[in-house]
């Protein structure tokens, strides 16, 4: 239990430390490692103890959906993956892994504020990381389409229409995201 929790902490620390692209890159990387897909071998590359795919698509969608309905940081729902490893400690380990980069780097940034601004190489690193993350997010979006519709044409069209609706409303009016999620659920209930 302790070893597994430590490894979970390490895996989520790795995920968090490379997530310069925002919260969704965390989800994309988590999905890649923990969700049972056809290409299971790919997920084992980054796992030292084969803490690999433990979630099926439905469970991942449940955790993903819950993240949009909770207040505060959406990352808290990721710790629900810890339930699969039976215990409160894995849940805590996951959350600690996600926030540890910030807890370490933020005090350091505050202390080295003036010197850090001159470290232009870091800008290059962030730029390269952000471009890679855009690519990963594009792949992740296509993966969501597959999870939601199985690539069936008529359902894919409705899926894209619902996504476009939330995209447009969010961009234009920025309402409370829960309203958009409830709307999507209603449309999904009747149309998908």
């Amino acid at each position: 239990m302790y070893m597994k929790s430590l490894l979970l902490l390490f895996i989520f620390f790795k995920i968090s430390v490379t997530s310069f692209g925002g919260i969704y890159s965390v989800w994309a990387l988590t999905e890649d490692i923990f969700v049972i897909n056809d290409q299971v071998e790919k997920s084992k590359i980054d796992n030292p103890d084969h803490l690999g795919p433990v979630l099926n698509n439905d469970e991942f969608k449940k955790i993903f959906g819950i993240s949009q309905l909770i207040p505060g940081p959406k990352t808290s729902s990721l710790s629900l993956i810890g339930l699969k490893f039976e215990g409160f400690l894995p849940m805590l380990a996951i959350y600690l892994g996600l926030v540890l980069p910030g807890l370490i780097i933020i005090p350091f940034l505050n202390l080295a504020n003036n010197y850090f601004k001159k470290f232009t190489y870091f800008d290059g690193f962030r730029q390269g990381v952000k471009l890679a993350v855009i690519g990963i997010l594009v792949l992740f979006s296509i993966g969501l389409l597959r999870k939601g519709t199985g690539y069936e044409l008529d359902r894919s069209i409705i899926f894209i229409l619902i996504a476009s609706m939330t995209f447009f409303l969010n961009k234009r009016y920025s309402p409370n995201p829960i309203i958009l999620i409830v709307l999507s659920a209603i449309f999904g209930y009747y149309l998908l």
Partner: protein
């Protein structure tokens, strides 16, 4: 209100239970700057931009930064716990709700609900991609570069971590090269 750890915890507990998505930053500024006057607007803005530099969840980093400015390392830990606790509790409650037999049965009979939610989130995701692209894609060559990376991941099954770190290192090298050529 006195600036001590208990009050920091209670304040961020309240913020964490009432903020959803983009409104988080606004609520934090309203509470810490206008109501409690614990920080100035300039300090808060500085924290906001600094938090964008650090990896990890943005709002979490923002809260950590603010907590650090208020009361050092104890402050940042207290602020984080207060901010994250409500979401943690609600997430678990929702998990229990969605795992109950009645709910599970309803969802199994109507899979469109969850698929609809996933579609809705995909819309947010596309928005995030656009926001990310705005500051970073300054040339069409970058679009080609991204397409190339997508091919590497899709066809040759390159690891996501490898792509991210490799891309970061590549751009450090390109920046160094560009500086030397311009000099």
């Amino acid at each position: 209100m006195e600036l001590n750890l208990l009050n920091i915890f209670l304040t961020f507990l309240k913020i964490g239970s009432t903020s959803f998505g983009a409104s988080t930053s606004e609520i934090i500024i309203e509470v810490l700057v206008e109501k409690k006057r614990w920080l100035t607007i300039d300090t808060t803005r500085e924290c906001l931009s600094m938090s964008g530099l650090a990896p990890g969840p943005f709002h979490v980093n923002f809260v950590i930064n603010l907590g650090y400015r208020l009361k050092g390392v104890p402050g940042m830990c207290t602020a984080l716990i207060g901010f994250a606790l409500p979401s943690f509790i609600v997430a678990n409650l929702l998990w229990i709700l969605f795992s109950m037999d009645n709910t599970m049965h309803f969802i199994k009979e109507n899979p469109g609900i969850i698929n609809g939610i996933v579609a809705g989130i995909a819309g947010f995701l596309v928005n995030a991609i656009f926001k990310l692209s705005k500051g970073v894609i300054t040339s069409s060559y970058f679009v080609l570069y991204i397409a190339f990376l997508v091919l590497l991941m899709l066809l040759f099954k390159f690891s996501f971590f490898g792509i991210i770190i490799g891309s970061g290192i590549l751009f450090i090298i390109l920046n160094i090269f560009r500086e030397k050529v311009l000099d």
